[in-house]
């Protein structure tokens, strides 16, 4: 008996380290010095897909956590605001001069024009190119205390473009010979990435030499929790202080004070296939538009956590509402007479299948016969782009990576658009979009974008359904969370608990 027991003890001694290896390593020690500020615990929705590479979608994570910064940032009105660049001016059509502010990289080296130019050059060489640089050629050179950026073609929105998280500036140490960039300890933001545990968690420390003052929180423990319900539970059990993107279905389980809503630039729309099938007929498109009751969706499916669709741009773009023009030249609604249509959507956003089911009923009431097709997004997209469905429910970020409102119109609704699910090819629309693309002045560009929006809505190829609000769960004791309609910031120097 004793030998058996001894063997057991020996076995468990051997097993112990093996077992610890089988657990995930935690986000770190959350105890902090009270005087020095406590650590924040944050649950993010999207685990890093590419090891926090600054060139892909992970760049948004870095930007939201206050790790990286670019030359510019977006202000509340969607205009470019100073970040690492204190100011800028346009020297000529193709050349811009960005004057840098005094700042330090997290590895201690100084932010020099040369380092910034090198960082931007690395970004232009990345494959695939960062979304903000798609179709753009750009060269950056140091010029005294400034960086001179020359574009291949005139680019009126360059300062907006440079606000993209994927153009964050890292110190020369970050780049290896193969062109990969490592943001651990090499960025310029108020928080410094110290450890990344794959796609489960990450640890951030405060960067004391941040140019805009020291952050109040002494560090951040980040957990990546893909499941929305799990994120909400983490907040409710007090395991995290901030939970990003709480799904609508879970919002009601959170305390009202912990629920912060922000209008986002994401618009959910019904896209009607204008090239083939029943919706080739503008009259039927008009009938479909008339049949849709957007407030039933905003209230019934989104439980009031969304605004009924007003246009392609939602209330998050604060300038849009005042400049909106009535769509002109809409066709008269025809009679569907039982026209059969397929309505497709994806289940990666849990509300979309529900939206599609409500739409099905509304459209059937108007006389259509609707078949639903719901799949995982990556199994659906190519069919949608080829125009295999008559109608498609899509949640689309209308400000994409460039921060330029016109880009989404050009991509989604012009003959040559790369993401034209509505299969729209209309001379007037193309003309209006092209006109908007050529304007540099922010306000005038916005005006032109709204004219183009009216032209697009006039075709009825797109029916804006709802403008989503993002729900961020913020624990009671936490203050200073940066709720950003562009989903680019979350933590800043003033965030603390």
């Amino acid at each position: 008996m004793t030998t058996v027991r001894r063997r057991h003890i020996l076995g468990s001694l051997l097993l112990a380290p093996l077992l610890t290896a089988c657990f995930a390593s935690g986000g770190g020690d959350s105890a902090g010095d009270a005087k020095d500020g406590t650590r924040l615990r944050v649950a993010l929705a999207f685990p890093p897909a590419e090891n926090l590479s600054p060139y892909g979608a992970d760049a948004t994570i870095l930007s939201r956590l206050g790790v990286t910064e670019g030359l510019t940032a977006l202000d509340a009105n969607g205009a470019a605001a100073p970040a690492l660049a204190a100011s800028w001016r346009r020297e000529n059509d193709r050349t811009w001069l960005f004057t840098l502010r005094e700042a330090t990289f997290q590895d201690g080296s100084e932010v020099t024009p040369k380092a910034v130019a090198a960082a931007l050059t690395h970004a232009t060489e990345a494959k695939p190119a960062p979304a903000a640089l798609a179709g753009v050629t750009l060269t950056a050179q140091a010029a005294g205390t400034a960086v001179r950026i020359t574009t291949g073609a005139p680019d009126p929105v360059l300062p907006l473009r440079l606000s993209s998280p994927s153009l964050g500036v890292l110190s020369p140490k970050a780049y290896d010979a193969k062109g990969a960039a490592d943001p651990v300890g090499t960025a310029t933001g108020p928080f410094e990435l110290t450890k990344v545990n794959g796609s489960t968690s990450a640890t951030l420390a405060r960067f004391d030499d941040y140019w805009d003052g020291r952050a109040q929180a002494s560090g951040v423990d980040v957990r990546f929790i893909a499941d929305g319900t799990a994120r909400a539970s983490a907040l409710r059990t007090g395991e995290v202080d901030v939970a990003e993107a709480v799904p609508v279905a879970q919002a009601a389980t959170l305390d009202k004070n912990t629920r912060k809503e922000t209008a986002t630039t994401r618009t959910t729309s019904l896209l009607l296939n204008a090239r083939s099938g029943p919706f080739k007929d503008p009259g039927l498109r008009a009938a479909a538009r008339a049949a849709v009751d957007t407030s039933a969706l905003a209230q019934g499916v989104y439980e009031g956590h969304a605004d009924p669709g007003a246009g392609i741009y939602g209330p998050a773009l604060t300038w849009a509402e005042g400049k909106r023009q009535q769509p002109a030249g809409r066709a008269k609604a025809g009679a569907p007479n039982g026209a059969r249509i397929t309505l497709a959507t994806y289940d990666n956003r849990p509300e979309l299948p529900e939206v599609a089911q409500v739409l099905k009923q509304q459209l059937e009431k108007a006389g259509f016969k609707v078949a639903l097709e719901v799949r995982e997004y990556s199994r659906l997209e190519s069919d949608a782009l080829e125009g295999k469905f008559d109608a498609f429910v899509l949640a689309r970020n209308t400000l994409v990576d460039t921060g330029d409102p016109v880009a989404v119109l050009a991509g989604d609704y012009t003959c040559d658009g790369g993401f034209n699910i509505a299969q729209l090819c209309d001379k007037d629309v193309d003309g209006a979009v092209a006109k908007a693309e050529g304007i540099a002045d922010t306000a005038k560009r916005q005006d032109a974008a709204m004219t183009a929006e009216a032209a697009i809505l006039g075709t009825d190829a797109v029916v804006p359904l709802v403008h989503q609000r993002i729900i961020t769960g913020v624990g009671g004791s936490v203050s200073g969370v940066l709720l950003d309609p562009y989903e680019r910031t979350l933590l800043g120097t003033g965030t603390r608990r």
Binding site: E50, R223, R379
Partner: protein, 597 residues
Amino acid sequence: MRRQVTALLWRAVLAVALVCGIGLLPWLTRTDPALTVLKARSADRDPTPEVLADIRARLGLDQGPFHLLGQWLGGLGHGDAGRSWLNGTEVTPAVLQALGVSLLLMAVALVAAAVTATLVCARTLWLGARRGLHGRRAGGGGSAVLAALPEFLTASVLATVVGVHLGWLPALGWYGPEWTVLPALALGLPAGAVLGRLLDDLLPGAFTEPWALAADARGVPGRRIARQSVRRCLPGLLPNLGLFVVGLTGGAVAVEQIFDIPGLGRTTLQAALAQDLPVLQAGTLTLLLLAATAAGLAALATHRLTGPALRDGALSSLHRPAPPARRTLPLVYGGLLLAVVALGLPRDPLALDTTARLQAPSGTHPFGTDALGRDVLARVSHGALDTLLLAAAISAAALLTGVLLGLLPRVSGPLVDTVNAVPPVLLALLVTAVAGSGTATPALAVGAVAWAPLAAHTAALLRQERAALHLTATRGLGASRAYLLRHELLPAVLPPVTRHALLRLPGIALALASLAFLGLGAQPPSPEWGLLLAENQPYAERAPWAVLAPAAVLALLGAFAVSAAGGVRWRGRRPRRRTPATAVELPSRTPELVGTP
């Protein structure tokens, strides 16, 4: 020895075929891996030709599948499983880490399963130890209900109630022993219920074997007899236990998601969706190795437990004449099920009213309403026919295939392990690659795995049955192989395997629904039961009735199937010999009878 070499070769052939199948998957399904990789990296990024071309160049996709496959296999020799297409990290350490997490989860889940199985068998063991089994019929309603519980439902309930509301145990994460309890319970309860049912099915036979009678006559304590009876029955279960081990390691996706556990299930699911082939191949290969190991250990354990008896053909049949099944219980379960369906049929399952969403059960909506304000009772009832017909058809096909292949254990053994080890989503993708995305594809995809546990069960029972003494006797009397099969082996094996198949019927309905996101199977707004469960899961806390109703009918179906299956017997083999006066039931056809008390 030669037999083992052939088995090993067959296993290797299957593994190679599977890995090659995965390597060719994107080309077979004509789904561009550059596109799926891009979407997995960034859902918002537009798939422009330049971006796709860049990714293709990076991954070397233009060199074609065979070159990539060769490269990957070449690296495998020195433990290098390549780099992930998604994020460029090395595959081997990532997969091993996920495997470690999953193995630990599985191990704790097995403990939970063992406890559950013990509880399921407790009544039989208690009665058996006291020689009070005679004439008692098997229960099993409770265990069937447990077995029909969808893992994700148990998991959400445990996470919400125990984790969030009571705060007794952490609700998510994977940082230490206390984090393992809830996920292990969610996985272990249904698995333990199935294993417990199977064991409970065999135990009465063991208690009536001559040795048990003799031991009892000698005054050996009932506890020891019970322990030996369990030991006697285990070999019939071990292959299925092995399947659970592998299945829980690689297929615990729902539980891993709800509890945020970085395990192999999620890793392979993500890789399958993104077509991250190196990770997918490595993950699958790891699972295959685990399956082979589990099968080897199961064989070894069987040998240790009953080896000499198997060799000498000195076992007696665990199959015994069953007492007539309960007539009332299945009637009650079936009646309830029918009543629910009948009550809901006049209602409209599709009429939605977003102003009446998530309403609690009331007079107008006896089962409440779902997230779109539809009547849950109507949906449950209208979904019954589709769900039941398809699930029953797949079960029947799986039973037939399982029994047929179970008769050829040397062919089917490795095949069973392989099929069972493949993550369900991957299998569905492979089936789609071969069969296209027609209406029969989801049924094929589910049926392709469903037969495996039945075949394993058949093979295990057959092996024991072949070693039974009465077979030697019958053979000695000059019976042909066909006669033996028809009159001795099948009658002994079919009833328990059929009961097993029925026990898994609700699981098949759930598996069908789990493929919907690939665009296979029922699409909303169809009220198919699995779909009902899936679409109402996010609201489980706020509107529990919307998930509980379909879960309850599924459980009812399980209970009905199992209680009705108590009557599954071989027609030609009615109970014949019974010693009327004694409380002991004699094992049928055992030539020598050892001391009756």
